[in-house]
Symmetry: C2
Subunit: 268 residues, 2 copies
């Protein structure tokens, strides 16, 4: 069982940043990644739909024998984590709570900003997670729907993206935050622009790293770490739309180890 893979899913390619941190921290672990590219994005869809998609993916990955499930998508973590935890017998980890913990470690002013998709922001998941850990911290949130298409268009260091970021973040800057949670796995690609707009006094939190730490902590605690040498680790990739584009774009996130992806049919 400990040799079984960790299952990681996202609506598309963004979750590969989380996978990368997991393999960096736990190089001996086998992994299976699923990108739901046929239905991407999740950020503008309802809780019911995102819950249904997440469950379909979880059951697909369970059929491949995963020992743990990581929802490496903020919208899925915000909307579906409770339901996944309830229905699955294996440990389930999302990106929201690790991101919230990292933000609390970083803030001095106790004023934290959160940006994400419409769904993630509407769910209020980050604010709830932060306040559950420390009720005295104030949170300020803003949905930024154009950031994902800008990142996918590759306009990561660009005047247009800078104008969009200035408009989205202007209000947050007014609240005197010193920490900004990048509540969407695409946003780290825009780090340069976001740092320029927010200024040197604001720490940007990318939950990939803290999520990987949480994965390690839970596997260690439950004595579920893979016993073998890292040379044998296998990374398998599934997508729901054509693998071609996923492999091309995905390499920017995960490098050469992404040498192919298989087509998954979720609903039978």
């Amino acid at each position: 069982m400990n040799q079984n893979p960790i299952g990681i899913f996202d609506s598309g390619i963004g979750g590969l940043t989380v996978l990368r941190e997991i393999t960096r921290l736990l190089p001996g672990e086998n992994t299976i990644y699923l990108g739901d590219t046929a239905r991407v994005p999740y950020g503008n869809k309802s809780r019911e739909t995102v819950e249904r998609y997440s469950l379909e993916i979880a059951h697909f990955l369970l059929r491949h024998g995963i020992k743990m499930l990581v929802a490496a998508c903020n919208t899925a973590s915000a909307y579906a984590l409770d339901r996944l935890k309830k229905e699955l017998a294996i440990p389930v980890i999302g990106v929201i709570e690790p991101g919230a913990k990292a933000a609390l470690r970083a803030t001095r002013t106790r004023r934290v900003g959160v940006i994400g998709t419409e769904g993630t922001i509407r769910s209020n998941a980050y604010s709830s997670a932060i306040k559950a850990l420390d009720p005295d911290v104030s949170t300020f949130t803003k949905a930024c729907p154009l950031f994902v298409p800008l990142a996918e268009e590759g306009w990561t260091d660009d005047d247009v993206t800078l104008s969009v970021a200035e408009r989205y973040l202007g209000e947050l800057k007014g609240h005197g935050i010193d920490t900004l949670v990048l509540g969407c796995t695409h946003y780290p690609l825009l780090k340069g622009v976001l740092a320029k707009v927010m200024g040197a006094g604001v720490t940007l939190i990318d939950s990939a790293e803290s999520t990987a730490e949480e994965v390690k902590r839970v596997l260690t605690e439950r004595d579920m770490l893979h016993p073998g040498a890292q040379a044998r680790a296998e990374h398998r990739f599934f997508v729901t739309d054509s693998p071609e584009r996923f492999v091309t774009v995905g390499r920017r996130f995960f490098g050469e180890r992404l040498d192919g992806a298989e087509l998954a049919r979720l609903a039978e």
Copy 2:
């Protein structure tokens, strides 16, 4: 049979512009509209996936007794029309050929630009349709992936949208076109900005109107027009994600007659 509804589908709300023109031209016709909001957008997905989604929708609408199917989505028209025509016994109409015809009526210089989603442009469907009708017309195409999210964000008359449009259209302007096909049902929302960038000498073609004319022509030719008075016409709406957002945003496209939408489950 003639009293049966016309079925119209799109990946989301954009196709409501086509529905509006159909009901304007044929007020006595009953209609059923399906917006595949749980899987929107189609523009960045593969031919296989868009074909599969279009067939699922067609079969759902057939179960509701439609007498004709209109693919009111450029990507679905580009990728799935042939397959739909082959598999369905009722007439099937897309938006590409009507748009191509309207462009040919408008151009004087015989140089036509086409903008659309990645999928529509990659499919080459407009260029093929235009050249099939008149091989002497030159076409120049450009995918504009950010236009849909900008229109959905409501930034329709906006400096950021203007900058994006200038970047996307700069190359097309250099080719001396006098006609620009808006090859995506969302783009008419950006008409003001697009007209400003292209200048007064360029005619913008929105295929909604010419598609409605094609619907009327085919129904008349096959003696399939509804015989009744317009007061009795019924317009029914289905979506695959939560109806709430669809109704709110959809009213901008279709007005008060959009008084509710039902949830459709496509795959059983």
